[in-house]
């Protein structure tokens, strides 16, 4: 028996020694940047992943981009011409651009990339209903749509439409995630599943006269918030994205730490299922909007690091209109008396003096869904206490995002605290208020969605803006939801001479990153 035990322990020790041999971490180099990220991207393949963030989008470079004034101009594309009927667009590519693999980025390559997108990407709707992709000459290609598709240009500033190098794919059209090649600033060097992604600056990328300001970028995935912050404070991490708001002040005091603030393009909103009888009366919807005090939420959950938004679109999105924002702000500034009055006009009165309004003997009780982000849960609690002030009894249900995404289209929810982020006003159509597409809010009104549908096919920018202005006016009036705020995107950095985050896309601009000596 003694032998057996000794043997058992010996095996265990040998096993342990073998195991601990694997995976030693190399010492960090001088010009290496370590970025702490919350979660590993599910894939680095842009045609597969459900989340584009810093850790996978630097592989790609977009066809179009925003200039400093917020206009859309060519990036990989030099010029483009739109046919008179708006259904055909001819693009001329810049010459001499190469993929990470060294293959040229020409019309053939872009065509092949679009073909893979159309064939197998779940996100092909971003390219519109393309009927034909043609190679005109070595650097010129032509796209033809069945219907004009106005959002294409905004969408092509995102990486969803970026060209990928299909020559690295295997015979099944897969395998990209292990050996990706595209045109972005960073080239993938190593994948340690569940732990990190290692990149180096691509030698095919135009870094300007001084070359890249760093030699290596490692994205480390640390799901736990506190662990991530401690790693940064300890100096093991150079870039800490999405800093929790309560830590900003503390990190600012640390030596050598700079806080970079960029307004997020994501608009948080308080929505509800407009098909539910309780939300049929516009006065009830308006009363809810008037009960919300955005400033209190922003001060007490985001430490002031958010900007209130009253209108349907956030400033970063094409179609945002200051007149609309102004109008909404005047209409829905917090006014408890007016809110109570509207409720009582709609028949909701606090008859039994318990603080909750009632109609036909039923108290105003609603349930609100919120995801498991701690800051959103704090905001939910403040909204709960604000609605309580006009006599609405709100309960909070935490749901996983996957559940919210699946169940809201079926209308299983009453209220929800949710958000959207899209750079084109077409989002009002394809996600929020389109005919048969209002998956989160279930608000489909012909006079609104007909305007939105016209906007999607209108190739003239001025006319397009006017259509969205009209639609937004109606939305402000009807109040089918309460837009809340755009959070500030907070990044803490250390040891950089230069560092920049794109104001619209919220991604690190690697050309403008330089580590301190």
């Amino acid at each position: 028996m003694k032998k057996t035990l000794t043997l058992l322990f010996l095996t265990m020790i040998v096993f342990a020694l073998i195991l601990s041999g694997c995976g030693k971490k190399a010492k960090k180099g001088d010009r290496e940047i370590i970025v702490a990220a919350i979660s590993e991207p599910d894939s680095v393949d842009v045609h597969r992943t459900s989340s584009m963030g810093d850790a996978n989008s630097a592989l790609y470079d977009a066809l179009m981009k925003y200039d400093d004034d917020g206009n859309i101009v060519g990036n990989l594309v030099k010029e483009y011409t739109v046919s008179p009927d708006g259904k055909e667009v001819t693009f001329e590519l810049k010459e001499g651009v190469e993929f990470h693999s060294g293959k040229p980025v020409n019309a053939e390559a872009v065509k092949a990339s679009f073909e893979r997108l159309m064939e197998s990407s779940p996100f092909k709707t971003n390219a519109g209903d393309i009927s034909k992709i043609e190679v005109v000459s070595e650097y010129v290609f032509k796209l033809t749509w069945n219907e004009p598709f106005a959002p294409f240009f905004t969408n092509s500033t995102s990486n969803y439409l970026s060209p990928i190098d299909v020559s690295v794919l295997d015979s099944n059209g897969e395998g990209f995630e292990k050996n990706p090649s595209a045109t972005g600033a960073l080239k993938l060097v190593e994948i340690k599943r569940g732990d990190s992604l290692v990149y180096e600056p691509s030698d095919k990328y135009d870094w300007g006269p001084d070359g890249p300001g760093f030699d290596k970028v490692t994205f480390r995935f640390i799901p736990d918030e506190e662990t991530r912050i401690l790693e940064f404070k300890k100096g093991n991490v150079d870039v800490l994205g999405s800093v929790p708001y309560q830590y900003i002040e503390e990190l600012e005091k640390e030596e050598g730490v700079t806080i970079v603030r960029v307004p997020n393009y994501v608009l948080s909103y308080l929505g509800w299922n407009n098909k539910k009888p309780i939300f049929q009366d516009v006065r009830v919807r308006q009363a809810i909007a008037m009960a919300i005090d955005r400033d209190s939420i922003i001060t007490n959950t985001f430490r002031g690091e958010a900007k209130p938004v009253f209108g349907p679109l956030p400033p970063a999105t094409f179609g945002y209109n200051e007149k609309i924002e102004e109008m909404a702000r005047n209409k829905y500034a917090r006014d408890l008396d007016k809110a109570k009055q509207l409720l009582s006009e709609a028949g909701w009165k606090d008859t039994n003096k318990d603080g909750i309004v009632m109609k036909d003997g039923n108290p105003f009780k609603v349930d609100m869904w919120v995801d498991n982000d701690p800051a959103n849960q704090r905001a939910a609690q403040i909204i709960q206490s604000q609605l309580r002030e006009i006599g609405i009894d709100l309960s909070i249900s935490v749901k996983e995002s996957a559940t919210i995404i699946e169940q809201t289209p079926q209308g299983a929810h009453e209220m929800l605290l949710w958000s959207f982020g899209w750079l084109d006003a077409d989002v009002l159509n394809f996600l929020l208020f389109g005919d048969g597409k209002s998956t989160r809010l279930h608000y489909e009104v012909e006079e609104i969605y007909s305007l939105l549908e016209k906007g999607a096919v209108e190739m003239d920018q001025e006319k397009r803006l006017k259509l969205y202005e009209d639609a937004q006016k109606l939305l402000v009036e009807q109040s089918p939801w309460v837009p809340l705020y755009v959070k500030e995107n907070i990044t803490a950095i250390r040891n950089f001479e230069e560092f920049e985050i794109h104001p619209r896309r919220n991604l690190i601009i690697w050309q403008n990153v330089k580590v301190a000596k």
């Binding site: 401690l230 309560q246 007490n300 704090r378 939910a380 403040i382 206490s385 909070i396 935490v398 996983e400």
Partner: protein
């Protein structure tokens, strides 16, 4: 037959009665001598009293936000400090104790009831034994927390569902213990005698089997009470249990975690409370085991 029954019945009854009576006395004597059990009972009594009296002794309203008092450390005004909305942590923990203890109680009641029924069936009706135990083996092949996470994913996040999930993951341990005890009691002379006399199964189970398997059930329930609170807290910690603004202790730790380096009290005290209560149940459970049935380990 009828006469025999009349003669034998009361005799057995009286025997059991005296046995139980003397058992009780020695039980109390042993329990009182066990310091650990007394400490455990003391801890539990303290927490139960405090949470029951929460509305009376809680110095502040449980959910009222006082933004100007947010993140205050422990002081004379706020004994255990305040949270991110300026809510008094002491008050919230008093109310949270109700939720945590109730979660444990519900989880143990559900799993105990189902576990005892299945365990008795498995132990008594040997034909069904194989199937039930096979099913329990399947359930036991899953780590309990993972099982609970999976169940919560199906039922949806929330307090009730977390309780159900914890309860289901605890059932197999009840079934095993009860079945084992039933098997040993089943072979005893008086049960065999009753069976021979044609006493109905239900009567045998209620009269003879259950009283004799009560001790291990009580011990196990006490210990599982504690570990259910722990599992429920772990679920809340992963964001799958109690919903805000519910002050369940695990949820308080989860929220406190976000403020660890600025407001250590928000995480320390609720965690400490969980540990103490679980410790209390374990101490009491140990004491009960020693007093009720020293053979059980």
């Amino acid at each position: 037959m009828k006469q025999l029954d009349g003669v034998n019945g009361p005799v057995v009854y009286v025997e059991v009665e005296t046995k139980t009576y003397s058992k009780y006395r020695s039980f109390w004597k042993k329990l009182k001598k066990n310091k650990g059990a007394l400490v455990g009972a003391g801890i539990l009594l303290f927490f139960i009293t405090m949470s029951t009296l929460a509305p009376v002794i809680g110095p502040y309203p449980v959910n009222e936000m006082m933004f100007e008092d947010s993140l205050q450390g422990p002081s004379a005004k706020h004994w255990l400090g305040t949270d991110e909305f300026g809510r008094d942590l002491y008050t919230r923990m008093l109310y949270g104790g109700r939720v945590s203890l109730l979660m444990g109680l519900v989880a143990v009641s559900i799993s105990g009831t189902i576990g005892v029924i299945l365990g008795v069936i498995a132990g008594y009706y040997r034909r069904l034994d194989m199937y039930i135990m096979q099913f329990m083996d399947i359930l036991m092949a899953f780590p309990s927390l993972l099982m609970a996470i999976a169940i919560v994913s199906i039922l949806g996040v929330g307090l009730t569902n977390a309780m159900i999930a914890v309860a289901i993951s605890v059932i197999p341990s009840f079934v095993r213990v009860v079945r084992g005890s039933v098997l040993s009691v089943r072979e005893t002379e008086y049960v065999e005698a009753s069976r021979a006399l044609g006493v109905k199964d239900g009567k045998i189970i209620i009269k003879h089997i259950l009283p004799n398997v009560a001790s291990p059930i009580i011990v196990l329930a006490t210990i599982q009470f504690g570990s259910s609170i722990l599992s429920a807290a772990a679920l809340s910690f992963l964001g799958l249990g109690a919903q805000p603004p519910n002050p369940e202790w695990g949820a308080l730790v989860y929220v406190g975690k976000s403020f660890l380096s600025q407001a250590w009290w928000m995480m320390l005290f609720p965690g400490l409370a969980i540990m103490l209560v679980v410790l209390g149940f374990n101490l009491l459970g140990d004491g009960l085991r020693d007093a009720l049935d020293p053979r059980l380990k």
